[in-house]
Symmetry: D2
Subunit: 339 residues, 4 copies
Amino acid sequence: MILILKQTANQEQIQALIAKLEARQLTVHYSRGEQSTLLGLVGDTASIDIDNLRADDAIEDVKRISEPYKLANRRFHPLDSQIKVGERTIGEGFFQVIAGPCSVESAEQLTCVAHSVKASGATFLRGGAFKPRTSPYSFQGLEEEGIRLLLEAKRQTGLPIVTEIMSDSQLKDFDEVDIIQVGARNMQNFRLLKALGYIKKPILLKRGLANTIEEFLMSAEYIMAGGNENVILCERGIRTFETSIRNNLDISAIPLLKRYSHLPVVIDPSHAAGITWMVQPLSRAAIAAGADGLIIEVHNDPKHALCDGAQSLNPQEFSKVMEDIKRRANFEGRQFDLK
Amino acid sequence: MILILKQTANQEQIQALIAKLEARQLTVHYSRGEQSTLLGLVGDTASIDIDNLRADDAIEDVKRISEPYKLANRRFHPLDSQIKVGERTIGEGFFQVIAGPCSVESAEQLTCVAHSVKASGATFLRGGAFKPRTSPYSFQGLEEEGIRLLLEAKRQTGLPIVTEIMSDSQLKDFDEVDIIQVGARNMQNFRLLKALGYIKKPILLKRGLANTIEEFLMSAEYIMAGGNENVILCERGIRTFETSIRNNLDISAIPLLKRYSHLPVVIDPSHAAGITWMVQPLSRAAIAAGADGLIIEVHNDPKHALCDGAQSLNPQEFSKVMEDIKRRANFEGRQFDLK
Amino acid sequence: MILILKQTANQEQIQALIAKLEARQLTVHYSRGEQSTLLGLVGDTASIDIDNLRADDAIEDVKRISEPYKLANRRFHPLDSQIKVGERTIGEGFFQVIAGPCSVESAEQLTCVAHSVKASGATFLRGGAFKPRTSPYSFQGLEEEGIRLLLEAKRQTGLPIVTEIMSDSQLKDFDEVDIIQVGARNMQNFRLLKALGYIKKPILLKRGLANTIEEFLMSAEYIMAGGNENVILCERGIRTFETSIRNNLDISAIPLLKRYSHLPVVIDPSHAAGITWMVQPLSRAAIAAGADGLIIEVHNDPKHALCDGAQSLNPQEFSKVMEDIKRRANFEGRQFDLK
Amino acid sequence: MILILKQTANQEQIQALIAKLEARQLTVHYSRGEQSTLLGLVGDTASIDIDNLRADDAIEDVKRISEPYKLANRRFHPLDSQIKVGERTIGEGFFQVIAGPCSVESAEQLTCVAHSVKASGATFLRGGAFKPRTSPYSFQGLEEEGIRLLLEAKRQTGLPIVTEIMSDSQLKDFDEVDIIQVGARNMQNFRLLKALGYIKKPILLKRGLANTIEEFLMSAEYIMAGGNENVILCERGIRTFETSIRNNLDISAIPLLKRYSHLPVVIDPSHAAGITWMVQPLSRAAIAAGADGLIIEVHNDPKHALCDGAQSLNPQEFSKVMEDIKRRANFEGRQFDLK
């Protein structure tokens, strides 16, 4: 970390500042230039509050050199992480497809979708039991009953399940869930992230609609700092000025996350654009850019779906998309983890 | 709500669609044009899922005419709401200033700040006990002890207190708090919003960093739908492409929220830009544009603050800003609610 | 186009409005609902000014159904356009790679790069003669001399050249240029677009940093409306809230532009992120998502480049990227147009 | 400027880099830390291309300390600039209101509006002769005839005129115009900016829809670097994710521009939101935040305006808004420059 001092800073202020920094176990390198005086800080700067420093009368600006995250950082963990879920592996060398309905609506619907996505080659079943809806008047999910139905579908198909948690107060309901999803709107629900750090279950962490790559990795860091290193990152589209689609898939996020972190990266092409016909081209781009997997919405009857029908494929469409996905994952040398 | 049908939609599809809509108690107006066929829907369209409709084979697009929020909507509640907190009134005709430190750090700090902001004319005391921090390595607040100290400061100064909740699991700790704040990152923590709907306490709801005015009002609607109509809206800066300041205060939000809703609007000029010297010009703009109050960070010793020092005024600076605020609130004909 | 009338609109106002619309040769379909009255307009609505309509006392809102562009619209031109440049074809079935330095710096530099990119398989040579630089103190290009050097490099290598125009006042200097580029900052320089409509030369139109897909196609429409249908669309990254890279490549733009328009789409992975190591993953994503070509910066000595060194590949790096590009274009069934 | 070197940089690379920098007349301060090596550069760093430096193998990152603009920079010009237009003064202590129609449509329309805005207290007349329209099918302005009508209205009312230029090729038509406006879409039309640097006429430079404050000041610098220091900055709303209004007025731009630059700042509340009823609250906020003037659209018959009718006030509305503006400019101690 580099502190750029004000030209008006006097020796007394500078000495006081250096003393304050050294008291925090930091080594301070002093460098007086003609135009500016700099202090280079060496040590555990991740815990320093930059805003706090900026309030110091002697400091003009603060520039961070190293990233504020450690456990999620590839610098300290050069090899790709692999996350195990039962017999499946997410990350390095493998390619996984998580598929299923936006929300669990009934035993019939879920069983139907689960069997069909399995037949097409999906390796995980997704489905929402607790649904974060913008409107209080929209369908809010079957809640605990939804999780029961997911577990029943898992028993029938053998597919591990992925479902979303909305609050730390719900954790007890997720005991048998294979992968717990944190939705985009909860990416900075720090209370929830902390609670997920104390369990060992894999977490699928979705990027917030307008959160930077650094903030995304800091949220992963929250979970990892508690002791749970099983974090899967999921890019699902960001909010921009564009109005013709719901969100813009940030394809750059894949190479960026891969460079800065060792965690697996999964892409959600269904939520990204919010339109059925965009699922295939966005899936293709994601595979080519290096994603470790996809999470795709499939509904047996999209036009009667209780949520997000416009972005859900039906089983026939999904089956075709899956053929294409397999051919492309194969071209990229990724192993399709089918048992 | 208007449904624009596809040019390829045949009579069978259209009849099936109309039947489905009428089954939901909606009146359907059919209008066949040369270029397009339209269905106008009358009835309780707020509960309709637009994405669901868009998945219908016969539908090209869906246009909402009326807003999806009801309780927060000025259409159905033309007069400005006033929210009572003890002897104080927030909203129509009154102007309130909530001041205090970003986070509660100690009894000494809080008492010092509380007495000084009261002396300058602040009418509420703010202070964070549970702190949502981007980094797990930053100071996370004094938690329950922080609330205890706030209550002690209230006893000493008589200032009602405002403090932030982070999860529905914490609700029991907020029994004696006067106004519960929901932070920007939790604006769509729907589990929390629902829980706050079941109590009667005033809620200061901050707008998310990248949430639209409609989404903001839908979050207010969540709380109100549960039965708690005491919602105060707070704009605190939005995320844009600009890099020279932390966020851009959305000054348009004031007239927009006032037009679409009857709820009081408070502005946070401290978080908006994240810079001390911007607090005054942004406060001036907010008052002129019609805000009902301000929430300002004040710290007895900003350069040693444990968070957000760069945006906190010291008591002397705050005192000067308050003189200016009073003069301007008076110019606007707002009543300063001092006891 | 649908006009949603105000509930307060009286019959006199409505009749006056209908008369005004019919005077513009539009057929008006009147539909009175319980909640709202609608007017559906049929005819040449592309020339209607929506803002103008919105100012009418009787109108609550205006919803466009059809796109405001015609010549660029796939509805009226279902087949993909192919644009011929000498013996090469841009569009449907072909894949082109345009490569070369950000700016032309000297005969030696340009000749060296031109020969090397040709050897690696590039099919067009790019190079800036007139440079749009953010700072007036940065290198502004060799101007006319730069174009002379490009033409010399073309004579030596046979590669057609692509170079940027900055104003309609420069048109005479571009007589021998094969493809004229319009830069992102000039996407809505309407005077320039109009001037380019009166010539027949292919135009590579770059999307503005914060322009929507519709605005992008409207700018193409400007050129086409003048009579020049040889427009190649180029997505080069959009401006968002993200700070770790210069811009975010909008991968969704490829399927969107392909759906709404028949014009070819080329991607610029160099400017998109502004970082050398991102060129390869973004190129891969672009090819997979359906791009018709790439435009890539290559410099013989990036660290001494006079502009954009950080995003330029050197010839060895480019050669490796080209091998990968060829393999992938081949996988997608695209023809590499090499003579 | 500070260069942060890579940990892998060897002495040979570092010495070569230092030699290269010193060859550009820069003084280099070397500082070797444990974690990183820094080079501090002193001298004329404004002309250094940061991207160029970033391509150097030895450099990890580059941090600018001082702003890249000089002539527009308050550091080197501490007092507020005042710009003279005939007998009027724009800047420090004065408050000006520029009013008139979006586009000049006829002699009758313009004369009518000109007389009425003068009567209400406007001090400049605006009107578009050359109109930058998103669609080639929209009204493009009366062009040269429009300028002739503006000059006639000036003769009748004595109001100096402000009108927009779209290309350097049009400069000869603007000889008698008092203030030349550069529109938001041309803020980075560098060819135009350069041409405007060679004349002495005041330039009203509008901020681009998605341009940072630094880019805005760099565009002012382009004009000033040519020798024309008469630049008036105009904020007119920025593009964000919000969909309920056209653009978001960036109120923070006023204090930011005032701090970093000495140039006057004028606000355009009409284009900012694009809605008539927002003109008043946004004008109020702008005056309170320190603007030096306003530019407001007024049309004698907004519902028949050929462009931007939805945001134009009629003369009666403008007259009321002006009363409010005068009262507020007076409250702020600004002098209303009425002759």
